[in-house]
């Protein structure tokens, strides 16, 4: 395994915040692995994702190091690293067509002209299993459903063939049926393109389905990191145990015993 990214004692504080959002986090990301970062609201998981992608807003205080041995300088967002946000309604530009937004990364970073970039965009829309890609190139985000918009955002994120994909709560705003489809899509894309995946989520089941390793965050600190079978099967930290105990799936016993009121 090659080290893709070495994070050392990373600490991040937003201006006027009482507590740091990330508190001396150290971890190593291997090339080609799938890392799930899990935690509750305010655990620092999204801040970690943004720091990794170089997307922190101005004014934050950062200490520690993020070292990318195979990149000099750090990977360029859009070219080397794709980022998919939670809310595609906010991350897609409402006044640009789907085609323009997906083609832009391909044109800018793959040295294509607009015509070639649009051909690539149509291919990508087909890859993310959207119907009628040619027609969709001319559509606007508001004409699509939430799940379709998230597919567009994924297509745009991978347009320049990045080797790293960061997905920040990409299914949280979607219903479970759509969520399952998006997770399956990410799984296929990451495998076919041999990308490194950092998957931010609050759902243990999704983390266990998609990832090789799970990093558990709480209160800005890394509480535990390990392979799925270790973190899910033999959790060590309170944070991991809490997340697992709170997990509800179809195996969870009914809370209304006996089935009748």
């Amino acid at each position: 395994m090659t080290v893709l990214c070495d994070i050392r004692q990373l600490a991040i504080r937003y201006p006027h915040a009482k507590a740091p959002s990330l508190d001396h986090v150290s971890l190593t990301l291997q090339a080609g692995e799938r890392l799930a970062v899990i935690g509750e609201s305010g655990s620092g998981k999204s801040t970690f994702a943004r720091a990794l992608a170089g997307l922190l807003p101005p004014g934050v205080t950062v200490s520690g190091e993020i070292v990318w041995p195979s990149f000099a300088p750090a990977p360029l967002p859009g070219r080397d690293l794709g980022f998919v946000f939670q809310d595609p309604g906010a991350s897609l530009n409402p006044v640009l067509t789907i085609g323009e937004q997906v083609a832009e990364g391909a044109k800018r970073h793959l040295g294509l002209n607009w015509k070639q970039a649009f051909v690539r965009a149509a291919d990508l829309l087909e890859r993310v299993r959207l119907p009628e890609p040619e027609r969709l190139l001319r559509a606007f985000p508001h004409q699509l459903s939430g799940g379709q918009r998230q597919r567009v955002a994924i297509a745009a994120a991978v347009a320049a063939r990045p080797s790293i994909l960061v997905a920040d709560e990409v299914t949280s705003a979607l219903d479970q049926a759509v969520q399952a489809e998006i997770v399956a899509l990410l799984d296929d894309l990451v495998r076919e393109e041999a990308m490194t995946l950092v998957f931010i989520t609050h759902d243990m089941a999704l983390a266990s389905t998609l990832a090789d390793r799970i990093a558990v965050f709480a209160a800005g600190r890394l509480q535990e990191i390990g392979p799925v079978r270790q973190v899910v099967g033999h959790p060590q930290s309170v944070a991991a145990k809490t997340l697992l105990e709170a997990h509800i799936d179809l195996e969870t016993p009914s809370l209304v015993v006996g089935g009748r009121p």
């Binding site: 759902d203 243990m204 266990s208 392979p227 079978r229 809490t242 709170a246 009914s254």
Partner: protein
């Protein structure tokens, strides 16, 4: 079914969109018994929120009938409707949008007590403390602003506000969907405890079949404005009959413990 608390028959509702008519509900029938939880589950856009809003009379149906507590629920209007509304309360997905942002917790809980004249003014503060305690918050939350609370705390206040009316039915529309998993688990526990103590009935609307299964006695599966399957929770989850129910079951994320 004379024992039913709520009985809806042949509800129809369509929305006009850009000159076209979009059918949101077609011939929906359902019943809820006292003290029972009916889980209403389906994908986005299946009509489950529209149904919740029709049942709570936030939006009128085109046709159909609703009997609630033995009365013709759709025939009520004016003062009679306002008085009767106390018995059917609703908790929404976004607790921030469901409150006046300038309200304090005490203010939000005092409104129903005053409007429905449930508790004399002198005893209201004590009743508010009691309600807060009932939903797992301490009395000193009463003075806080709604904006100061976390999402989970706000949802507890929303439940307390519904309880303040001493309802017989609470309609919960995606009430736990926006919450963190540990908060969600605690709110579900709370709902079940309250049901046991007060004999409350719930209609629990969600796209999350696992949460629905955990709290419901019966489940109704909706698709494209229709209830396509309905039955006891275990029967629907263990032996789904409709493609919609099978798809929802397949979509529930599974925890993988052993991975090579």
């Amino acid at each position: 079914m004379s024992a039913a608390l709520l009985e809806a028959t042949d509800l129809r509702k369509s929305w006009a969109a850009r000159g076209r008519s979009v059918v949101a509900l077609k011939e929906v029938n359902l019943t809820v018994a006292p003290g029972e939880t009916l889980g209403l589950v389906g994908r986005s856009g299946c009509g489950k929120s529209t149904l919740a809003r029709v049942l709570t009379r936030l939006t009128p149906p085109q046709s159909g009938a609703i009997r609630f507590r033995g009365e013709d629920w759709l025939a009520l209007s004016g003062a009679a409707l306002r008085t009767a509304r106390r018995h059917m309360q609703m908790v929404f997905q976004d607790p921030l949008g469901a409150f006046n942002p300038r309200a304090t917790v005490a203010g939000a809980l005092a409104d129903p007590l005053r409007i429905h004249d449930l508790v004399p003014p002198a005893r209201r503060a004590a009743r508010i403390d009691e309600l807060l305690e009932r939903v797992g918050l301490t009395a000193d939350y009463a003075r806080r602003s709604i904006l100061e609370l976390s999402g989970g705390q706000r949802q507890r206040v929303a439940i307390a506000r519904a309880l303040a009316c001493e309802p017989s039915l609470i309609v919960l529309d995606e009430a736990v969907s926006a919450l963190d998993v540990s908060v969600r688990a605690r709110i579900l526990d709370l709902l079940v405890d309250l049901q046991r103590e007060h004999g409350l009935a719930y209609i629990f609307v969600s796209h999350d079949l696992a949460a629905v299964k955990a709290v419901s006695h019966r489940i109704a599966v909706m698709e494209a404005g229709e209830i396509v399957e309905e039955g006891p929770t275990d029967a629907v989850v263990d032996h789904p009959q409709s493609p919609a129910a099978r798809a929802l079951i397949a979509a529930v994320p599974r925890l993988i413990r052993e991975k090579p």
